[in-house]
Amino acid sequence: MKKTKKEVFEKEAMVHVEALHRTALRMTKNENDADDLVQETLLKAYRFWDKFEQGSNCRAWLFKIMTNIFINNYRAKSRSPQVVDLQDVDDDFLFGQLSALGPSDDPERHFFAKVFDDDVKKAIEELPEDFRLVVVLSFLEGFSYQEIADIVGLQIGTVKSRLHRGRKLLQKALWEYAVRNGFIKEAAK
């Protein structure tokens, strides 16, 4: 028997709800908004399901829909100018800090042990929005540069540079969290 539209949709699209929700949470920073954003995304996808080219990348398509809704409806609420000063952050900022601790036993391992789940989530959420979007799509969702460019509607070079800067900011923030959590003190022991 031929599958109904809803059955196909469930199988192809609904399996991405976890991933969409994870990204929505980091983007909206708010559970209710994230729920609404994902719901709106899937309802829209369902309405336009016949326009989706079967066999193409459903996950990327859904993220593109979600990104558009986010940019149009959610971002506008709290759009403020983004000033980001990365002048003093080196590419190898975090690695450099850890290396500077000396050849003691495995500073990376201690570092990662001192950064908690909530720190990571918070650090992501505190990234300026332009960077946050590409970092989430790359780090959490594993999209390629080209896919991210398509989803967000940017040139691939812009994606790369935002990802690069976003990564630096993220590392700097996590370093600060680790230090606050007592990382240096313990590492010095």
Binding site: M14, E18, H21, K64, F139, L140, K160
Partner: protein
């Protein structure tokens, strides 16, 4: 490959964007260079760590059920012609606002569509070519509610502002331009349940819509026409006229314009 070159490829390799050739060259270098190896390992760990800590939410299951229920609700709503609780996007409303129908130029003499076999030009476009306009979202994945050209037309030529209002019952599926009798209109296509509604917006100058009845909606006048198998409504907004057309005569057209009242 030098250390500098190896590090230049760092993120491309970590993000799996580097070419096979570069990856192999980098690997050769890493096999001989402890410090670059350490850096690569660290960056890889860092990326995996971030992903691991921001794991998928455990609440997604509940959400999934909620969405599936909503889908059922909507499809039922449609097959039975009920009002679906669709949210207007900001632009859709804008469109609604813009919806002022520019009914026909002066050559649409009174009686043109009442006493002849001709159907009303707007009705005609609504039924056929009207839906076949420059599709603003031909690329439906992008879901741009309307093209920059339309936005420009609305804001520059008509001096209208697209409000950011939410309403229910209609949602926009397409938009484009439609020239009716040499008069330039933006044409927004909505669905109300499963019933299409057309909304035209253009300059009011040169448009005459004979045969309509004035009705008060709040303190605003709208003009309605009860056609044979269709209904139309128009109203003015600044220097624009907004025209709505639907073949569903039970559809409460005035409901699609609440956003317009505040203009």
């Amino acid at each position: 490959m030098t250390c500098e070159e190896a590090l230049r490829h760092l993120y491309d390799v970590i993000d799996k964007e580097a070419s096979q050739y570069d990856v192999e060259e980098v690997q050769k270098h890493l096999a001989e260079c402890k410090s670059c190896m350490a850096r690569y390992e660290f960056e890889e760990m860092f990326k995996a760590f971030v992903k691991d800590k921001a794991a998928p939410s455990d609440k997604a299951d509940k959400l999934k059920h909620r969405i599936l229920d909503k889908i059922d609700e909507e499809s039922e709503g449609r097959s039975f012609g009920k009002l679906g609780p669709f949210r207007f996007s900001a632009v859709a409303i804008a469109a609604a606002v813009a919806l002022v129908l520019c009914v026909g130029a002066s050559f649409w003499a009174a009686g043109y569509y009442r006493y002849t076999k001709y159907i009303h030009p707007f009705e005609q476009n609504h039924f056929n070519g009207g839906w076949n306009i420059i599709p603003a979202n031909a690329d439906s994945e992008s879901f741009q509610p309307c093209s920059p050209e339309i936005m420009k037309f609305i804001s520059n030529d008509l001096s209208m502002t697209l409000g950011d209002v939410q309403t229910v019952g209609y949602y926009m599926v397409d938009s484009g331009f439609d020239d009716i009798r040499d008069h330039h209109f933006a044409h927004f296509k909505f669905l109300h349940g499963n019933m299409p509604v057309s909304l035209y917006v253009g300059k009011k100058d040169g448009v005459e819509m004979p045969g309509f009845e004035e009705t008060k909606v709040g303190n605003r006048s709208v003009y309605t026409y009860d056609g044979d198998g269709f209904q139309m409504m128009y109203w003015y907004c600044g220097k624009s006229i907004l025209i709505a057309v639907s073949e569903d005569k039970t559809m409460p057209l005035p409901e699609i314009i609440p956003a317009v009242y505040s203009i």
